[in-house]
């Protein structure tokens, strides 16, 4: 297989002292970020991007660092789900259902161990899936012209809300907001300034990183200020014994079919646009409950109920990298952040990436394999360390988050103007979250707006102004059809699915405590 020999080259890239060290740091930071309620993978990665730039890392090392954080966050999210009944990030929500009951029975250590193994299985096999699926998708992507790319961007935005979206008008509103912000600055093709109102600082456009750090990280600080003292989001300590942190062989064997099924489901959910890790863990849990819960023990501390969502969300995280790398179109907030970093490093993901920068792609994939083993080691024997980190109360954590956000943005540009813009985005993020307008379409719009427009204009230049070119090929028609279905479907079934995921209210850290 050609993929395997490429992968071998990738290991040569990844196995340098620097890259191994970065993967280790990334895994460690990622697990902490995932474990802390209120710091999800997307804002965690976003705060660290400026750091990767300021350190002057090349594309491959930077990508290794940040994807290790991404994978690590997927592992870490389960820790507070199990111990505190607060998901460390949104995908870990389903893990609370059986993880916390297990902790209350004094089997927290067992739950942590099983979920650690399940996370490993999910992301390990998803990374294998990435090795084989991404090159296949690249073959398809080579058939894409500008018109197909334009349709693909439309598809990405239309499906972004996911099937759990309850209000598609708000998803469209968020997309328009993001795309609109992307238009600010000098037009790349004709050189005329747009929407910059004579302000020189705006000629370069609004930096994606400034927007995302403001929208995600700073708005989190405001949410915590709003909720201070009312109990939610505070690091309430679990008065539960951890117990032994080794999974028994019998339990593992019992969970093996669960992990296998959940990995496949999660991976597929991750590859599909607009689904992502939250849906992966949800699908894995509910289908496992339907298939395997014969004694009605799910929800009461069944180890399989911990293994399923963790294998599912980690597999989805790996799956989500497939469209990001092969097509250059991310399907989730965190992969959007990773894409932003690549673009900022002058690397355009997509089919050409595999041809022009195979070292980046395969070095990254190899690093992910290595990172997985590091994470397994960190998350089973060393999990006690992360449990202690969880006890940092928000009153100290949130100021650190705010200050590190400022440090990161200032480190890139040294510009007070950018810091002001970031504060504005922080307030905007808080208001939008209160109104339940999703933030991911906003950042994706800011990130992809100019690419989308230039594909449209290129297609129209080729066709000399004939708009029907956008619907001229069967491939483009197919993409438009999926986009329409993906946008309309949630209007019909979204409320029901959302209710079943019982994410009725966005509390700090996206957490809803359910007892």
């Amino acid at each position: 297989m050609e993929a395997l020999s490429s992968l071998a080259d990738g290991f040569a890239v990844a196995l340098t002292f620097q890259n191994l060290g970065l993967a280790l740091i990334g895994c460690f930071l990622g697990t902490i970020i995932g474990a802390l309620p209120g710091l999800g993978p997307s804002n965690g990665v976003a705060i660290l991007i400026p750091l990767a730039f300021s350190l002057g890392l090349g594309p491959t090392p930077a990508l290794i660092l940040l994807t290790s954080v991404y994978y690590g966050a997927m592992y870490g999210g389960r820790i507070s789900s199990i111990l505190l009944n607060i998901p460390g990030d949104e995908p870990a929500l389903m893990t609370t259902l059986d993880g916390y009951p297990m902790a209350k029975q004094g089997r927290a250590g067992e739950a942590l161990a099983i979920s650690g193994v399940a996370s490993f299985v999910g992301s390990f096999f998803a990374t294998i899936g990435l090795v084989f699926l991404a090159p296949l998708l690249v073959q398809v992507a080579l058939l894409f012209g500008p018109a197909e790319y334009f349709a693909l961007f439309a598809l990405a935005f239309a499906t972004l809300g996911g099937v759990s979206s309850t209000n598609q008008a708000k998803a469209a509103f968020a997309t328009a907001l993001g795309l609109g912000i992307a238009m600010v600055g000098v037009d790349g093709q004709t050189g005329v300034p747009r929407f910059s109102f004579g302000e020189v600082h705006l000629y370069d456009g609004i930096d994606f990183l400034v927007a995302i750090v403001g929208l995600f990280a700073l708005s989190e600080v405001f949410i915590f200020l709003e909720h201070r003292g009312d109990g939610s989001g505070e690091g309430k300590q679990a008065d539960v014994g951890i117990g032994r942190i080794t999974p028994s062989f019998a339990v593992l064997r019992r969970c093996t079919p669960t992990m296998a099924r959940s990995t496949v489901l999660g991976f597929v959910a991750g590859v599909l646009p607009g689904a992502g890790a939250s849906l992966g863990s949800f699908l894995a849990y509910t289908s496992e409950k339907a298939v395997a819960d014969k004694e009605g023990t799910f929800g009461k501390g069944d180890p399989r109920g911990v293994a399923a969502p963790e294998a599912g969300n980690n597999a989805a995280a790996g799956g989500a990298l497939v469209p990001m790398l092969a097509l250059g179109v991310p399907g989730s907030g965190t992969t959007a952040v990773l894409l932003a970093m690549l673009l900022a490093l002058n690397i355009t993901p997509g089919p050409l990436l595999f041809q022009q920068n195979p070292d980046v792609v395969w070095g990254l994939i190899a690093a992910l394999f290595i990172a997985n083993f590091m994470l397994l080691a960190m998350n089973i024997p060393m999990v006690g360390l992360f449990v202690r980190v969880l006890m940092i109360p928000p009153k100290f954590l949130m100021p650190i988050v705010a200050m590190v956000s400022f440090v990161g943005i200032y480190g890139i540009s040294g510009s007070t103007f950018d810091l002001m813009v970031m504060v504005v985005f922080g307030v905007l993020g808080w208001v939008l979250r209160k109104l339940e307008v999703p933030l991911v379409p906003v950042i994706l719009g800011i990130l992809l707006g100019n690419l989308m427009e230039s594909n449209l204009r290129r297609a129209m230049t080729i066709s000399d102004g004939d708009w029907t070119v956008l619907f001229a090929s069967p491939l483009a028609l197919l993409l438009w059809a999926i986009a329409v279905v993906g946008f309309v479907l949630p209007i019909l079934v979204g409320k029901r699915i959302k209710r079943r995921m019982h994410m009725t209210e966005e509390e700090p850290g996206g957490a809803t405590t359910t007892d």
Binding site: L51, G180, G191, G414
Partner: protein, 149 residues
Amino acid sequence: MTGGTGVSDRVLGGIGLVLAAFYIWQATTIQVSFISDPVGPKTFPIIIGLLLAVSSLVIMLKPDAEPHWPAIGRLAEIALAVVVLVAYAMALPAVGFVAATAVASAFLSWRLGTAPLPAVAAGVAIALGIYVVFHLILGLSLAEGPYGF
């Protein structure tokens, strides 16, 4: 802000409509140079403006349930934090990273529930900690100020 159901969404939709109108108007004023592609720099922004207008209209006509707005005191709290962060951004080049960060993070920590004196200690610790990790160890350039730190 705690009126009948959906008031906030109606306001959001209204603001969105105004914004869309302003955006489309601004788009039509974009100068077009002599050499331009068939689409030009105006069309895509106008499409975005229309998308914004339509989605705003739907939000206005079919509002969701009213979100839980904080009491006026908490809103003032958030506003004050915004003021402090803006002041922090402006003070950075003037007084240097460590001093500005110590004050800003002490303030935030205090408002998030730390008692005043421990909050000052936390502020100083956070500022020094970030300075050591990001500047001395990782070599990131932080705002220098008159004293060089």
